[in-house]
Every structure is written in C-alpha cells, then in structure tokens.
Subunit: 493 residues, 2 copies
C-alpha cells in the first residue's frame, strides 16, 4: 500500500484519544481511560492500587456528598480497629466461610535482620493469636454493640465508618476489584426484625438515589437471590448497573442480618416489655468500585466523562496564548475562575507550558464536563467559547462572559441529566424479557449481551445450571418493581 | 463519724464530675475524662482504640478544617497502599532502624481450619515476601515519585493522604499512643534543598497556626535536636505543647529529608539546566494524638472543654420540661436549633428521657462550649438562660432569644480566645529560663514541673546525661524565637 492509500485507510476510522476503542477491546480500553485521565495505577503491592490525585478528588466528592446524606438519616461516624482477632471470624459460621479464605494475616509484630542481611519477621515477636486485616467489620462492631447496647433506649444505633478494607484477590482490576479498597460500611441495630428489614430497604434506596442523582448511574433495585446473599444475612438488597459492554456491576449492597450477628456477638437489650431480647442489625456499603462503574458507564473512545455533580473540575479554562498576551490572558482566565467559584462552580485554569491542542485533549481525556477556550480577541470582546464534553464540537458556542456566568449552572445540570438519560436508554435497550431457558440460551448464543429478565421459577429450575455454566451467567437481582417474581440475569464484573 | 460529720467532710471538697481530679491522679483523670465524654475506648485488639462518634466528630472537624488549609497551599490528596513490601523498608538505612522494630507483619493471605477446629494461617498461603502495615509512607510514596517525577516541570509535587498507620506500641494510652492511629501524612518534592527547607518550615508554621487558631493549643515552634530527628531526615521541625501536668506533647512534626529519600528511591528529574538531579523532599504529619493534647490542655475536673471552632456541638439546648408542656417546649427548642444552624452554629437539643440535672452534667462532661436551658416560663417570655462551659455558673445569664442569636457567635469566639489565653498563660508560668546543669537539677529536684530553657551548650555537655536519666528529661525543641541558641527541656508524653 502506498502512503496515500495508507492515509486513506486511516482516515476511514475517526481518530480517538483512547486506543483501543471500546469495540476493539473493552477491558484494555478501560485501563487506558484510567491512565489517560491520570486517576489511578497499579502499585508495587500485589493487587493494590494507588489512587492518584484526580481519581482521589472524585472519591472525596462522592464521600462528602454521601456522608451528608447518611448524617441526615441519623447515622454517626466512628472508627474501629483495622485488625480483627482471628477468633472473632469464627463466631458467625457463614461469615467465616465467606471471608476467611481471602484475607491478609498478621502473625508478627517486629522485623529483625536475618542471616542473609535482609529483614525477616522476628520469631521472638510471633503473636499468640494472629489478627486479620478487616475484610469488613461486622464482627468487631458487633462486639462493641454488645457492650454499648443495654436498653431499647439505646436503639436504633446507627454507626458508619469510612475506611480501607482488604480481601486477597487473585485477579484484580483498578477500582473494580483490588485487594485493598476504600469504602464506607454502615452498621445499624434495631429493636426488631421489621425495623431492620425496613432499614436495609431504606439504605439500598439511599444508594440507588445517590447513584442516579450524583453519579448519573441508572440502577436496578432489588433483592439478591438466596445463594448470592452476604454471608450471615437473611436478605441482601442490591443496586445493579449495566456497563457499556452489557455486563452487570453490583454497585452497592445493603444487608438485613436479622438477629444472626446479634446472637453470635451477644447484642442484647432490655425491651419495652422489660424482657431481654436480641437486637436486629443491618450493614450496608459502597466503595471505590463505584468509580469503575462510572468509567464503564460514561466514558467514551476519547476518555473519561465526569458527571458534573461529583466532577473534581467542572469547567476547564484554557487560555489560547499567542505571543505577548500570555500574562494578561491568564489573569483574565483566573478572574473568570474566581467568578465561577463565587457561584459554586469548580473551575481550573490550565496555565501549564503545553501546546493548546494538548491542553484541549487533556481536558477531554480527563472528562471535564465543560471546556472554555479564551483567546486574545475573545478577551478583548469580553467573550469566551465553550464546549460540552458529552456532546463534543457540535456544542461549541461563543458567548459573552456574563451570559456564560448566568447559564453555566444550567448547562452543567443539563450534562448531568443527559448522562443519566443516555445510560438509562442504553440499559433499557439491552434488557430483554424472556420466558424460557431456551430463550436465554438463544439470547447469549447469538451473542446478544445485556440483561435478560425471567420468572424466578425458570431460574430455580435445576436445568438452568448447564446454561449458566456455558455462558457464565449469574442472577443479578430480583427487581422490587416486579415484586420479586422475576430475576435479572447477566454476566457480571 | 456520724452522718452529719461525714456530710461536712464531703462538703469541704467541692464535688467534681470527674474522679479522681487532676491533682489526685492526672493519668487516671485523663482516662476518666475520655470515658465521661464518651469519646473513645480501648478495643479487643491489643493497643488499638475505638474512636466513638463524639470523639470521631471532633476528628472530622479537625480533618476538614486542616484539609482546606493544605489544599490552599497547593497540596493534593491521594491514596497509597496500606501494605509496604518489606524490601522497601531496607532502602533507607536510618529509616529501617527507626521503624522496623515495631510493626505489624503480614505473612499469609488465607486462613484455614486447623487440627483443633479453630482457624490457623494456611501454610500453602505463605507470602514469598512479607508485607508490613505502613508505620508511615515515605518509602512507598518515594517509589511512586520516582516514576511520576521526570522534569523540573513536575515540581513541586505536593501529596497528602489521610489514613490509618500502625506502630506496635507496648504501653498505650487513648489518643496519645495507640498501635493504630489516624493521621495525615504530607509528602512534598522540590528542585533543591533551599525549597525543601522552606517547605518544611512553612508546614510546621501551618500546624502551629492551626493548633493555636482552631484547637486553642499554644505551642512552641522550633527545630528538634539532632538525636530527636525523624529517621532519615536532615532536619525535623516540631510544635510542642505543654499539658496541665507540665509535661510536653509533641503535637506535630515536619521533616526536611534533603535528598536522602530521593537517593534511596531514585527520585530524579531533568533540571532547568538539562542536567539530571535528585529531588529534595519533605514530610509532615499530625494525628489523632492532637485530641489527647486538647484534653490535657483544656479539660478540668468536671470533664472535657471543647474549643468552639472544632467542637462537634457548640450549643447544647436543654428543655426543662415539667408536666404537660414537654411537646411544645421541645418544638420551641428545635426551632432555636434551626435558627442557630442558619447562622452557622452547631446546636443540639437534648430531648432524651433523662433528668434535667443529668442532662446538664452530660453537657458539662462533654465539654460543649455553651449550654442553653429553657423552661416553660422562659419559652412564654421568649427568653433563655445560657452558661459558658469554661466559666461555669458565674457566666449564667438570661436573655431574650433575639439577643442570644445576635450575640452567640461572639460568645463562642470569646470562649475560643479565652481557652487559648488561659493555656498560654499556664505555659508561660511554667517555663523557667536557667543557665546551668545545677539549675536544672534543682528545678526538677524541687518537683517544679514544666519546661526549662537553657543554652544548647549546656544541653550538649556530656555531664547532662546523668541529670537527664535521673529526671527522665528530653530535649523538646530549639525555639525559632531564640535562633536555635536555646533548647526547651522537659518530661514528655
């Protein structure tokens, strides 16, 4: 092929900022989006990630927004130890089976110089009882509740902690599945099973509302099937999201423990009838995994797209300097940034050394919702040009600064709702209601992805096992909307 | 002794909410203050504490306030792994000596059922290279910086993380010294040693300003003597506070590493002169220890006293219900709470079941800066009675609600500055300038506590060793105010 022909060939395919594209290799595209946005990277510690400043700023916004929501629900933050005595794990039979198989075990409390000069764990500092690094804190919080709860007057008790947890994972992927991750874990205790059930339901709705309103993630709310329950729970509720490759992501769960943990840890109280009774508890968590879900829902072949409500930077201002106007232009941009801050908009001026096209692509790859470009002529005219990340160049418009300031919030709101609508439309398009095992087989055999919805009775048919194994299907959730009669099935992260 | 005489005896000593008093047993008083305020307690995990909601709310306020300050200084938050490869610890020779002797070592990644039925670390899941739980993160952040920093354009790089760290402590005390604690650790990198020195100085002043303005903790700012430096630093700057028993508390430190860590971890960059050079780094941290310092500085024999700027609750409103007015009164109190929230004051209504005197003492022991009492008659007259926690009943005043709302912020400000002034006066009273070893001996022999200040030459005299051992004295800091010519000496936490 000669050069011209090669060029033509290349022109056929529009150039994208991310290689490969979603169609070419979805998992690799995902890694490249994170890299191009500078959000996180793998660390020298097996299976653990480093969350870089831009990724962490997103987590901070998620954290602060949701923290306000749970505080309004009467939840109090606290902090419990990182280490869990090994014996605690054995107290709840199902819990130990669920978590003991994949945890970091602390066995010594000192290093010393070994024979070969390097460091080794000191034999003289071997612990009598090993500790494990918390994979979740039901056990140690249950132990505390058994001391703190005496009377019905102490109930409800609603505790939460934002912390790191660790589960030894063999196959890891940034944000989605890492050995260490950040999360919040809420643990509430109540007088009876009706209240704990109500609370577990309330929290899954709190998560789903938050995911939709802040992260622009449409989700299906419902209950997990029995075999997918949290170890030790009597019911697990979940919100499930659909990624752009049609796979499911469990984005947050809320568990009704009944009195299982209260019995294992002795959480007793004197009731209104003066009789001793076991409390009923719930636990509920969301994690940095949500960030993975946001990427796989919103990002495109040019990189990340941040929903404005939680975007670290909502408006990126790029001064298009030419020759000697740089200083004045940057000052003008900084004034705009200050004016935006005053009206509650998070803006940033890219005054780095780079070339203008690189700065524009930088803003695109980071998924900053709105990009503003100001050149010398625009400065003189009191104007600016802005472009929406989600729409691209078709949304390019030049307006006066005043006009921009008075409309920017509604533009951001529109981006926020567009992202949600687009993702919801995608989910609806890729949801197929079927009525038989054969339908499911045909659906996945023909390589149609997404979710299928069937009667629970079809799913519980023993014949389903074969189909399930063949296509790696799992039951995601039994939607509340179908009164638990149906189950959503799909491949999952 | 008959009953009357007994009563008389008891009346001699004013009753205090905390037993013992500071004079009777300072360390035990400290524990009891924490217990009475419900801030924290020991956990079933050796040396680790549970931070209860009221204590954690204080930490959250400290964290959010200081986080805003460092963000204004251009620092970005990020998150690095909890585990550190053992080999990393060996890279900086002094650092390993400083930290390897007291750390939690992770050696296995799975538990299994043992022969006796309990859980044991699975031999098949023994790690090739053990990890330690971070005692501090210079090593793993240094390793990242070596990849992230390429050119002088990448500098300065200013990173911070809010996280948990672990140092195996033998003798622990709530907040002051626990095996696990919460902190922020900042790690900055610069082009040269002048900049890193300047930054380390800037951060110790940021700490000291924060301690004085937010926590009402007066501190002495200065440099640590050589033998008290952070392992691997070329200079350690510190702020030292004086507790009410005259002992010193190191309340925050900032380290200039020079290029030590950059050399150990290969943090190199291409300079403005196009030559490769090592970066110069700093690190700086404050922790939950600050809460211990606040308690030992402000609390009295009736319990905690919270500085208003970081107090979880600034105003406690107590409805004095009698008979059938309870509902209306509580509603009236809630309206006052809402009016206070509007003007940025954190208020709480104690509508619990308890007796009024218990509620009043509860507010005292929790150290809530301002207590408001409202009875039925006051409600009808649109009035309320308020009492300052730091002054006590002499400050009791009945005013109209409008007057209260318009003056409450200035009352809180006055409490804040009074606490600082009182603590500063105490520190000045208990600071003695001396000129010889003999003076120091006499000072501590006569059981005068507090700090002494001497010429550095006296301290560095080898003869000082004996006096030091006799009275357990340590050099706290060489104050900036004395240009490093003098050193402050005292007993320390």
């Amino acid at each position: 092929m000669n050069q011209q022909a090669q060029q033509k060939q290349q022109n056929k395919k529009p150039r994208t900022a991310i290689t490969p594209t979603r169609d070419e290799d979805f998992p690799e595209w995902y890694q490249q989006v994170i890299k191009a946005a500078d959000m996180a990277e793998n660390s020298p510690v097996r299976g653990c990630m480093i969350i870089k400043p831009y990724g962490f700023a997103l987590w901070e916004n998620i954290q602060r927004s949701f923290d306000d929501i749970i505080k309004d629900l009467g939840v109090q933050n606290a902090y419990f130890p990182l280490l869990i005595p090994m014996s605690f794990m054995s107290k709840e039979a199902e819990h130990v089976d669920g978590f003991a198989t994949e945890c970091a075990v602390v066995t010594h409390h000192r290093l010393e110089k070994g024979e070969e000069g390097g460091l080794v764990p000191a034999e003289s500092a071997k612990l009598g009882e090993p500790y494990i690094i918390r994979p979740t804190s039901e056990t140690i919080i249950g132990d505390s509740m058994s001391r703190w709860i005496q009377s019905y007057r102490d109930l409800p008790m609603k505790l939460n902690q934002w912390c790191n947890v660790m589960r030894w994972e063999m196959r890891t992927r940034l944000f989605l599945r890492t050995s260490e991750f950040l999360w919040q874990e809420g643990h509430n205790a109540f007088e009876n099973g009706e209240e704990s059930r109500e609370d577990a339901l309330k929290m899954v709705h709190a998560y789903a509302d938050f995911a939709e309103e802040y992260l622009a993630l449409p989700v299906i709310r419902g209950e997990k099937t029995e075999d997918e329950r949290f170890p030790g729970a009597i019911a697990t509720y979940s919100m499930e999201a659909m990624m752009q490759d049609g796979k499911a992501l469990q984005a947050g769960t809320s568990h009704d423990m009944g009195d299982n943990f209260a019995r294992s840890f002795g959480i007793m109280f004197q009731g209104r009838d003066e009789k001793e009774a076991h409390a009923h508890t719930t636990s509920w968590g969301i994690s940095t995994r949500l960030i993975g879900g946001m990427i796989m829902t919103h990002a495109d072949d040019d990189g990340m797209i941040m929903p404005p409500r939680v975007a670290p930077i909502q408006v990126q201002i790029i001064p298009i300097t030419k020759g000697d106007n740089a200083e004045a232009l940057i000052e003008y941009c900084n004034e705009l940034k200050a004016a935006l801050k005053k009206i509650g908009v998070r803006a940033n001026v890219d005054d780095s050394d780079g070339r203008t096209p690189d700065k524009m692509w930088g803003a695109v790859k980071k998924g900053i919702p709105l990009r503003v470009e100001i050149g010398g002529r625009e400065m003189e005219a009191g104007q600016l040009t802005h472009v929406r990340r989600d729409v691209g160049k078709d949304s390019k418009a030049t307006v006066s600064q005043d006009e921009f300031l008075s409309s920017v919030q509604s533009v951001l709101d529109d981006i926020q709702s567009s992202l949600l609508e687009k993702a919801r439309a995608f989910m609806n398009e890729n949801m197929t209601e079927v009525s038989s095992l054969e339908d499911i087989r045909n659906h996945y055999k023909n390589d149609k992805g997404g979710f299928v919805k069937v009667d629970v009775s079809v799913w519980s048919d023993p014949k389903f096992e074969k189909v399930k194994d063949e296509f790696k299907l799992t039951p995601r959730v039994m939607p509340f909307d179908d009164n638990g009669d149906k189950v959503i099935i799909g491949k999952a992260y």
